[in-house]
Symmetry: C3
């Protein structure tokens, strides 16, 4: 063999000028949910809803078996869009209209498509712009139980490769994707009460009062495990796993260290909230909007709180109700010497400041005690 | 929506005054054993018994498939009792009469009940007392293969919430729980010898001699992985996963750092002992008594030893025998300058002291070479 | 019970004088591939080939389901040989003629045998010698889908227990093991094109040009997770997991810290190369030779490159071709003050040196665009 004469280094992902209005990406890979993936993530988040713990409980409620929690559905679906949409992103700006459909079980295969809804160059920085996309995740494509499991939009701040390149600026309408949370039918003759001891006793629909803010009790310290968790999701963005890249230019990267993939605090906050608001949910219906407000690093301890925003009936389903909430994530950082703290930042032990890391407008469908306990 | 007006922080778990003699807890959650849970824990412990490694070996011995090792059965069952029994505990004092019953397979769902046998306030400290409980774990409740998989008692030192509160002091008798180790029948015509190369050649019943102490060869260094392992078990006690809580009051917590959940060294010591005493066991019959004698932290390396206490026949089963042992776990710590060490502490390399962390009286049912090799 | 009178510490593994020409080891344990093992390792390596991600894609190509990637087949098989062959090794010198056969699926049980081909004492060091072995891994022994999944040779530098002991020096011929990569038949009527968006668009057989060197884009920082990963493989060698042993004699161990099991960078380099060379492979055919050239530690970031050595047709299979490559792994280390770097070591950012850690001659069977896209 002759010596290699040509050295190749592929550039992955798209830059701002590569996105075109109305363009559709059919993302690579797809992902089958194994029991390994299911357990790694479900348990990492400390979720307590027995639908994701106890197969007999899930079946008795009308599901086929253990139910993949919404945070994990989101992570499996979202991560498939990273290479095409946000490999070259500076920041993920906003989650919009994130809706859930069919339940996901172990063995299901998830595949995702994304349509480009908008491209907008920055008015102040010629190297940046915002891409607005709509993604839809289906399970078991081409098989008889094919179904939409999730659809969402997001806005991402993406780098240009060439400052001078032309950008396909504009906005097109979102597709109308039929994606409503599937609920197992209420079986009038079923003995739901015999299962009631398995979930929390004080998290039925009747228990929530708008205007309440619940500070969830538990915190969870993150470790370098985030590198592996992120790889498990097929999110291979280098800022989450390549310390050598960071060490060469620490000032270019926030905190000078590996940043934890935003999907991790997203799903962890959902889990930390579970004993207080999610234990008797049949599912999450929609995340109207959400965003990350500060970075998270190995060593940080994550906490969460939920504001109860409102309650309403669900048509045709007297056994459940819709709970509108705001999920908030935070961590505590050492306060600087003499730093004057106000507002939320001051809600911290002496010497610390509270930093909000995540917020999500979230609606859950919650069982009523009258029908289940 | 109006601004939240009411901030809520739930307190989980019971305090000394909340326990009542004869009271029964039906614990929340339950847990289905997935292949993810099975592999994470079985391999973490470094167990070598092929019943938990090799499905064809397990089936040829009369099991339905890979057998969940006793340490993992214990962890899955025990952890379900934490929130109700020991979330507000100062220390787990003793495991008592821990007996195994039906085998547990991947796909089985474990649920647990606990009865309060005794409550006793401390005579010296008005803030503390001891709760004595009996727990029983069943699999597949309500299904045709429902069975008891484990029953045990434990004593826990629990905090009072209100020093002045009345305590339901006393002791009631333990329930008589039928829980005997299920053993697959010995099949006279089966070619067990064809499988003999798959397990250790020197760990048959005939190989053990009472009066022997086996220092198990392998050690295993613990890392911060313990945070995740503990979460996988649904044990959400904050002293195992909330570093921020520790950092605020390091002096209040042993070692000023996250303490490793006792179930981790429990199962790890079982695993480390496996190549020397457990490779040809069909199961663990009983842990008569056991306790943790020192805390374990990330960075510590765990070692184990087994004393062979006795041997006896098992009625109606000439193919196996019962081996009575004492399992001991230890770690090494830097000795203090000029520290004079004696006894077990002195069994250490120069500059170190040996610290016992765990002890367990343990009976195994072990195959005889005469019948299997 | 009397106090223990006899303390036993078993020595595991063989020393140079224990190996005999033509001797066969039937290794202990065996290992059933669970979904937990599958996901932990497949995702750790960052492999992107949908055969290991997407069950419908795998089935549409003629496999029974998710396909265990070659790196994981190798790790599961190789690790079973460690206790008998290399527990007392100083170094693994070379992998030779490593060939793959039947595909491995979740649920398959792998068992391994090893034959001693050669024993050669060192001419310069009376404490050392080289053992040459041939190992073969079978799945589902005794069942109707029994098949050889892998066969390979390796040379290992092994310690003597007794410098003066006689060694069975010599060499015997390797067995002729029939082990050819199984390929699913090409189905003329199948709509492979409908799946083409799921794998990379530029990694078909037609896309590779001999003489090219591809620097794979992604790097992956290793953490102390390697301790757990190694245990998951049943490789219990103490240099990978017993920090206390290292701390007692740091100078005796390379780097004075736990060394990462060579199988980890082996499989990680395969994974890192996947988006550029493996995304459209139906399997790896052979690793002609391979070796580790420098140790890897927690904190190191692993990178990989692939040289395209050659291409050729495969008899009777116009739909695929054989791609001959050299896979290279490297890391970057801080350069010493004033160190003059040359050759490969100089291919590094300022202040660093490039250190090759691994190399493997590797042939893949790759789909042709003409038939699949």
């Amino acid at each position: 063999m002759s010596q290699p004469v040509r050295v190749v280094r592929k550039i992955t992902g798209n830059h701002l000028e590569d996105f075109h209005l109305g363009q559709t990406f059919r993302h690579k890979g797809g992902k089958t949910v194994t029991e390994g993936l299911f357990t790694t993530f479900t348990e990492f988040t400390m979720t307590t809803n027995p639908l994701a713990k106890n197969a007999r409980y899930a079946r008795a409620h009308g599901f086929q078996g253990l139910v993949v929690p919404p945070g994990l559905v989101m992570l499996v679906a979202f991560s498939q869009t990273v290479e095409d949409v946000s490999e070259n992103a500076r920041a993920n700006l906003e989650y919009i209209d994130m809706r859930f459909g069919a339940p996901v079980y172990v063995g299901d295969t998830i595949e995702v498509e994304t349509k480009v809804l908008g491209v907008k160059p920055s008015s102040s920085n010629p190297k940046l712009g915002v891409v607005h996309v709509q993604s839809t995740a289906r399970k078991n494509v081409g098989e008889k139980d094919q179904a939409i499991v999730m659809t969402w939009q997001r806005k991402v701040q993406v780098w240009k490769k060439d400052d001078a390149a032309k950008v396909d600026e504009g906005e097109v309408p979102a597709d109308d994707i039929a994606c409503e949370l599937w609920l197992p039918p209420y079986q009038a003759g079923a003995d739901y009460k015999a299962l009631a001891h398995l979930s929390g006793a004080d998290t039925y629909f009747e228990d929530f009062e708008p205007g309440t803010k619940i500070e969830h009790w538990r915190g969870r310290t993150m470790t370098t495990e985030h590198i592996h968790l992120t790889a498990v999701l097929d999110n291979t963005s280098q800022v989450h796993c390549n310390q050598f890249m960071i060490d060469q230019n620490p000032k270019q990267y926030v905190g000078g260290q590996l940043i934890i993939f935003g999907g991790i605090p997203f799903t962890l906050c959902l889990g930390l909230s579970c004993p207080d608001v999610g234990d008797n949910a049949l599912g999450d219906r929609i995340y109207t909007t959400g965003r990350h407000t500060a970075p998270l690093f190995a060593g940080d301890t994550v906490f969460a709180a939920t504001e109860i925003l409102g309650k309403r009936d669900l048509d045709g389903r007297p056994d459940v109700g819709v709970l509108a909430t705001r999920l908030l994530g935070h961590k505590f950082e050492k306060a600087k010497d003499g730093e004057a703290l106000s507002g939320e930042a001051a809600e911290a032990p002496a010497g610390f400041r509270k930093t909000r890391i995540f917020e999500l407008e979230r609606e859950l469908v919650v069982k009523r005690r009258s029908h289940y306990a």
